[in-house]
């Protein structure tokens, strides 16, 4: 989802001493052009998606992709998105929200606790454990999907929501981020003071440290939320019942049904495209409102203070 990260808004903070110099003079034309190109590169697919959602199947293949077709069919498409197969799209959307919130919340909590422990406690094996955690960042979830499936199958929890949520609770990157964040955000002296006042370690974590870790927690939550929202391979492997699918798998299934030809195929192109548009709207909205958390999360640990 990094594609929707917009370039940071430029706020000219012209220092008073340089007032005579117009900040405009410092603009670099090649850089501006380059940034515009980058913006276009990231935004064009989105523009295409919005425009394509207003076309029916016939217009989709006979008119120019980046301009509107002869008929405006957005409403018809939306209706077909929510009525195809008895409105199973709505079910998929609810599943996605549920999986993403549960995974995001769980991952944020676990990462915060682990990261805080790594940052603030010295215990035997902490370095080794942290190295393992760092190494785990390198292993994509996709590579673990099949072994995880076999493991889960032994416990009989494949084809249940647990199969999607449990693996998503583990976020090595979140642990790393929270360790870096906790190291800076929670002063050791504050913990010492709390201990002197007689607070137990759990109480210190819940009532003192967690408050200070707020922005970091939200960042990890968002990362995990988006990762689960966009996760395709894990639910594809784990789930068999359509009514448990998240949007990613459901839409891919609809898309395949139209893209394979063969008997019984349905031309659902405009339905799938409009469904994709609807599926990213919540994420785009979340990004616009929560931008500052992303930036603070990305900047955490970048400067040694």
């Amino acid at each position: 989802m990094t594609t929707t990260l917009l370039p940071p808004v430029e706020r000219p903070t012209a220092p008073p001493a340089r007032r005579r110099r117009n900040p405009r003079d410092r603009r670099s034309t090649p850089l501006t052009v380059l940034l515009w190109l980058c913006a276009a590169y990231f935004l064009l697919p989105l523009v295409w998606l919005v425009i394509a959602s207003t076309k029916d199947n016939a217009d989709l293949f006979s008119t120019f992709g980046l301009w509107f077709g002869e008929r405006f069919s957005l409403w018809d498409n939306l209706v077909s998105v929510f009525t195809n197969r008895d409105g199973i799209y709505g079910r998929w959307a609810l599943n996605t929200v549920f999986y993403a919130l549960a995974s995001g919340g769980g991952a944020a909590l676990l990462s915060t606790m682990a990261g805080y422990a790594f940052a603030k406690y010295r215990f035997p094996g902490s370095r080794a454990l942290f190295s393992v955690t760092l190494g785990a960042i390198m292993i994509p979830l996709t590579a673990l999907a099949l072994p995880t499936y076999l493991l889960f199958n032994t416990f009989g929890i494949t084809d249940t929501p647990w199969a999607v949520i449990l693996p998503s609770l583990v976020s090595p990157f979140g642990v790393y981020l929270m360790r870096v964040y906790a190291a800076d955000a929670v002063p050791d002296s504050l913990i010492e003071a709390a201990r002197v006042d007689g607070a137990g370690e759990f109480r210190i974590f819940w009532q003192v440290s967690l408050r200070l870790l707020g922005p970091g927690v939200v960042t990890v939550f968002l990362f995990a939320l988006v990762a689960t929202w966009n996760n395709y391979f894990l639910p594809l492997i784990m789930l068999n019942r359509s009514e448990l699918y998240p949007l990613t798998v459901g839409l891919a299934q609809q898309q395949l049904a139209s893209a394979q030809g063969g008997g019984g195929s349905q031309a659902l192109f405009s339905t799938v495209i409009t469904g994709s548009l609807v599926s990213i709207v919540p994420l785009v909205v979340a990004f616009l409102f929560l931008q500052r958390y992303w930036q603070s999360g990305l900047a955490a640990g970048s400067v040694k203070q």
Binding site: Y149, I237, N240, G261, G262, G263, A267
Partner: protein
């Protein structure tokens, strides 16, 4: 159904599938199941069908619940859960993963013809002979039946087929002075030149990513590119003189820029069909309905005809797509599962529903001869009786075409060799040699004896 255009994911998953096939292969060992082919008595069948039973059926066919409902109405004790776990390679991967895991596998699955051997190799399919399947062998077009059965048993019941024909834009052809559909490939080349010079359109598209279509065209030309003895011996001959002849023909059309070479089932391809960049499509019996959904704006301008022939006066076609229903050997309710696979593909009401509601082109000979199916006049094709035409073509498909137990690899290897050569407008005959070499090397690596 035709095989999915391969995406990066499909490539990755097919590697995983093959890994699993091989794991199954090495652990499966012998295939001596002759003890199981004792006919099951009618009393046992009746009893099983009246015992409350739950079946799981993995299929991607839309609205197949309607046919399953007919089955449940006929056998109220049996409750079938239909699950769509994906289509094509995704589906097979999930079936194999579940088989590998030991439980969670369904009772009945949808399988395309070309992938049946990859499941019989691992002894994963139930021989349906003892459950009455032999009695209905004459009710399906013979070449389709040959593909679901072998000397060892009957592995699946045919559902739909895809005998190939030629769909073309009669308006563009007429503009180029071509009033009759080309009867031979020589005529087809001449027509291609006229169409190109008069209208700028390609006569059709030879896709760079569709091994199934090219295999169908080879099938029509009498090429037998491979065979398998059901055990450990395969023969591979994809660069035979006959295959080279077919490829030399297409090479000529490609070199003269008379056919398109776009990947099919994606944007450029759909645009080509709906804007007249292609004046035709050598496709299968499911093509006419598919085309209506994607090229609506050209309704009424299309016509259907048999494929051009290699020799004047011949009537031969190949097959592209179609699928079957098979019972997994791990099922705990073999009688009920076999009854489901047979009922939905044999009961006249059910097969008619498949043909007229889901537009699956039937494999049932009774339905192919039924006036209510063949008689329908399709407005998209200017009122032509398209079903009647393809029902006739279904009779002309060569009967002894078979498949290898590792078609996933054969198809992905096609895309790397011949497919790439088509897309690059390169050397097709040379690419056939590469394809041959890759398949032989793979087969040997997997422990097959290559003859």
């Amino acid at each position: 159904m035709k095989k999915a255009p391969r995406t990066a994911l499909a490539m990755a998953t097919s590697a995983a599938i093959l890994g699993m096939t091989l794991a199954g292969c090495s652990s499966g060992g012998g295939e001596d199941d002759t003890a199981g082919s004792e006919p099951v008595s009618q009393a046992d069948i009746d009893e099983a069908l009246q015992t409350p039973t739950e079946l799981t059926f993995w299929t991607w066919v839309p609205d197949i619940e309607d046919e399953v409902a007919l089955f449940e109405a006929a056998y109220p004790a049996i409750d079938v859960t239909v699950e769509n776990v994906g289509q094509g390679l995704d589906h097979y991967q999930k079936v194999r993963t579940a088989l590998e895991a030991g439980d969670g596998a369904p009772d009945v699955i949808q399988v395309e013809y070309q992938y049946i051997p990859s499941f019989t190799l691992t002894d994963s399919l139930l021989d349906l002979t003892p459950y009455g399947a032999a009695d209905i062998s004459g009710d399906y077009v013979d070449w389709a039946w040959n593909q679901v059965s072998s000397d060892e048993g009957i592995w699946a019941i045919p559902q739909d087929i895809g005998p190939m024909g030629n769909l073309y834009r009669s308006d563009i052809m007429a503009q180029a002075g071509v009033t009759e559909p080309p009867a031979t490939y020589a005529d087809y080349a001449t027509a291609a030149e006229q169409v190109r010079s008069a209208t700028g359109s390609y006569i059709s598209n030879l896709p760079s990513n569709d091994p199934a279509q090219v295999t169908g065209l080879l099938w029509q030309a009498g090429v037998r590119p491979w065979s398998w003895d059901g055990d450990q011996t395969v023969s591979i001959d994809v660069n035979s003189p006959e295959a080279q002849e077919v490829m030399t023909y297409w090479q000529d059309l490609i070199d003269r820029d008379l056919v398109g070479t776009d990947a099919d089932f994606n944007d450029a391809f759909y645009q080509g069909l709906s804007t007249g960049t292609y004046a035709g499509w050598l496709t299968a019996a499911w093509g006419p309905i598919f085309l209506q959904g994607t090229a609506e704006a050209t309704s009424g301008q299309w016509s259907a005809a048999p494929l051009p022939q290699w020799e004047e006066g011949q009537e031969v076609s190949g097959n592209w797509g179609g699928s079957t229903d098979a019972v997994l050997s791990t099922t705990e309710n073999p009688i009920a599962a076999a009854a489901l696979a047979q009922f939905i593909n044999h009961d006249p009401e059910s097969t008619a529903l498949f043909a007229n509601q889901q537009f699956l082109f039937p494999a049932s000979t009774e339905l192919l001869a039924d006036e209510s199916f063949t008689g329908s006049e399709v407005a998209f094709f200017g009122g032509q009786k398209v079903n009647e035409l393809f029902a006739g073509i279904a009779e002309t498909v060569d009967t002894d075409f078979t498949w290898l137990p590792f078609m996933e690899f054969v198809y992905s290897s096609f895309n790397e060799t011949v497919g790439t050569a088509i897309g690059d407008r390169g050397d097709l005959v040379g690419a056939l040699d590469d394809w041959q070499a890759q398949i032989v090397r793979y087969a040997e690596d997997q422990g097959f004896t290559v003859e």
